[in-house]
């Protein structure tokens, strides 16, 4: 009886057996202008020789699974003989869902897992609950923690107490990696080069070059300086897929501050975009989205909790999700929360080694937990009682 842990994200699916390592695989299909007939699924992305103008087909919309056709195709590929070779009758599955998932989607998920794939048993859970489980496993003495999951579609701030999520405190900011990449595409297209079609390439740019600034206005002033004094400015070499396979950032020593470059590469010169784009996580109002940023929403969420629990939440803030990988993210969150929190409380912000796989690791621990057998719903259970038993057992 093996257990497959699948953190079903809107961009990456983190999947692996609980006794093996995790694989991070794109959870979508791709179509390319060059290879016209074939649709690439998930990790077949590596086979595409020319990822320019890559067309994404995502099963998720605004963070919720709406397109089951695409999702089933991706899962067929992942569960099939090329990847994990799942023996359905002998496997449990732990699968994650977004918060406040719609009941129609939950029912469909039950049907697909039990009737189409026919897993032996299944556990549907929120990704943040797995992160909290992992955190409590490491810090046994703590009672409460608050998880900030900043992913592709949105950011959720969820308080957990004794392993259960507190629904009144859940806060959703509609800013995620997708918004940041699209915004970066727009401003580069307006200021320098038309890249609106190049989602994959600009995503790479964002990951390589963007960082979270500790002092926004000071960085803005530095970015306005000319020549060598402008320590913020970087040149990014775009890939042309013949000689340069993958874009990279030019090191400062090679940069040419006056005049143009002699070689024929395409260069993007990035100054304030480097830190203005991740700033949207902290101030969504910069772009016109009338919502609180992450630090403010954290404090707001904690203030909605009972008084006696509040100091415990401030002491255990956990950052997960892809956006946590921006350099300077953790320090900035700490600085802002410390400024907004009452002075007598201790504030501690934890950034795990691998924020993307943190929930998956929690799922792995959960699968090894002795209580696991009672938490899952078996196929026989489902066939007798239907959706009702899943609604009762799973706390979504």
């Amino acid at each position: 009886m093996s257990t497959l842990v699948l953190d079903n994200g809107a961009y990456f699916a983190k999947i692996g057996y609980s006794h093996e390592k995790v694989s991070v695989i794109p959870n979508c299909q791709f179509r390319s202008k060059t290879s016209r007939l074939k649709t690439f699924t998930a990790n077949q992305l590596d086979e595409i020789k020319d990822p320019s103008g890559l067309f994404f087909i995502l099963p998720f919309q605004k963070g919720y699974l709406v397109n089951w056709d695409v999702q089933r195709k991706v899962w067929d590929h992942l569960f099939g003989k090329d990847m994990f070779k799942v023996d359905f009758a002998d496997t449990n599955i732990v699968i994650t869902e977004p918060y406040f998932n719609f009941s129609s989607i939950q029912d469909t998920m039950n049907e697909i897992l039990f009737e189409e794939y026919q897993f032996q048993s299944a556990l549907r859970i929120n990704a943040g609950s797995l992160s909290a489980h992992r955190y409590f496993h490491e810090n046994n003495s703590e009672l409460c923690c608050i998880v900030v999951d900043s992913g592709f579609s949105f950011t959720h701030i969820v308080p957990y107490c004794r392993g259960r999520k507190m629904k009144e405190g859940i806060c959703r900011i509609n800013v995620g990696g997708k918004l940041l990449s699209n915004h970066l595409k727009e401003i580069i297209s307006y200021r320098q080069l038309h890249v609106m079609d190049e989602t994959y390439v600009i995503n790479q740019v964002k990951e390589d070059v963007c960082y979270v600034s500790q002092d926004f206005y000071k960085d803005m002033e530095i970015a306005q300086l000319k020549g060598e004094d402008n320590t913020v400015m970087r040149d990014y070499v775009l890939p042309d897929f013949s000689s340069i396979k993958k874009g990279f950032c030019k090191p400062r020593e090679e940069m040419n501050f006056t005049g143009k470059y002699k070689t024929g590469e395409q260069i993007l010169r990035l100054t304030n975009e480097r830190f203005a784009v991740p700033e949207m996580l902290f101030h969504p109002s910069d772009i016109g989205i009338q919502e609180m940023g992450i630090p403010e929403a954290l404090v707001n969420s904690i203030n909605n909790m009972p008084e006696e629990m509040q100091p415990h939440f401030y002491k255990n803030i956990v950052l997960t999700g892809g956006n946590a990988l921006f350099p300077g993210y953790r320090d900035r969150v700490y600085k802002e929360v410390r400024a907004l929190a009452p002075v007598e409380y201790q504030v501690s912000v934890v950034l795990p080694q691998n924020p993307i796989c943190y929930p998956w690791e929690g799922g792995k621990l959960l699968a090894e937990n002795p209580d696991f057998e009672e938490m899952v719903v078996t196929r026989e259970d489902y066939e007798e009682n239907g959706h009702y038993v899943c609604e009762e057992k799973f706390d979504i």
Binding site: S32, F56, S104, R172, N182, R191, G288
Partner: protein
């Protein structure tokens, strides 16, 4: 008016192109500006800005002969289920949200989890260069930081497409 602009240097050259006569300059009202902003924000939610490369292919290409005849009987059973799913579950996000009918249920749900507007004032950035801006374009409400950026804005974006 002409006399003044001849004395000015380059930055105001762009302003000369546009008529400064208040009667001729079109100004958008706040409702239109709000609609434009909403359109821009919705555009940021898109997955792809280009069209599907497979969209223009003729349908015949997809019905290539199957090479593996032996799998037919096993796959046939799955295919009917697949079509069934396709008809039932091809709904988009908005439809699903409405179906959920959250106004009826009590307690925290998807809609109540929405983050509230920030207590801090909104910061404004120049639409052209991205640095902090102090001024607003009279016609369309876009922000700019200096006269050179205003010139670029007028030439490229101001009122170039209507809502």
């Amino acid at each position: 008016q002409l006399l003044k602009s001849r004395q000015d240097i380059n930055p105001s050259q762009a302003c000369r192109v546009r008529s400064q006569d208040p009667n001729q300059r079109r100004v958008l009202d706040s409702a239109t500006r709000q609609r434009r902003l909403t359109r821009q924000l919705e555009a940021l939610e898109k997955d792809n800005f280009q069209d599907d490369p497979h969209a223009s292919l003729p349908q015949l290409v997809k019905r290539l002969p199957q090479f593996d005849e032996s799998n037919e009987s096993g796959k046939r059973r799955k295919k009917t289920r697949g079509d069934h799913f396709k008809q039932r579950f091809r709904k988009n996000f908005q439809t699903l949200l409405e179906e959920e009918d959250l106004s009826v249920s009590e307690g925290p749900n998807y809609l109540t989890a929405f983050a509230e507007p920030s207590k801090f004032p909104q910061r404004h950035f120049c639409a052209v260069c991205g640095f902090p801006s102090n001024y607003t374009c009279v016609s369309c409400g876009a922000r700019y930081c200096c006269v050179r950026c205003l010139g670029t804005h007028h030439e490229t974006r101001c009122l170039k497409w209507t809502v």
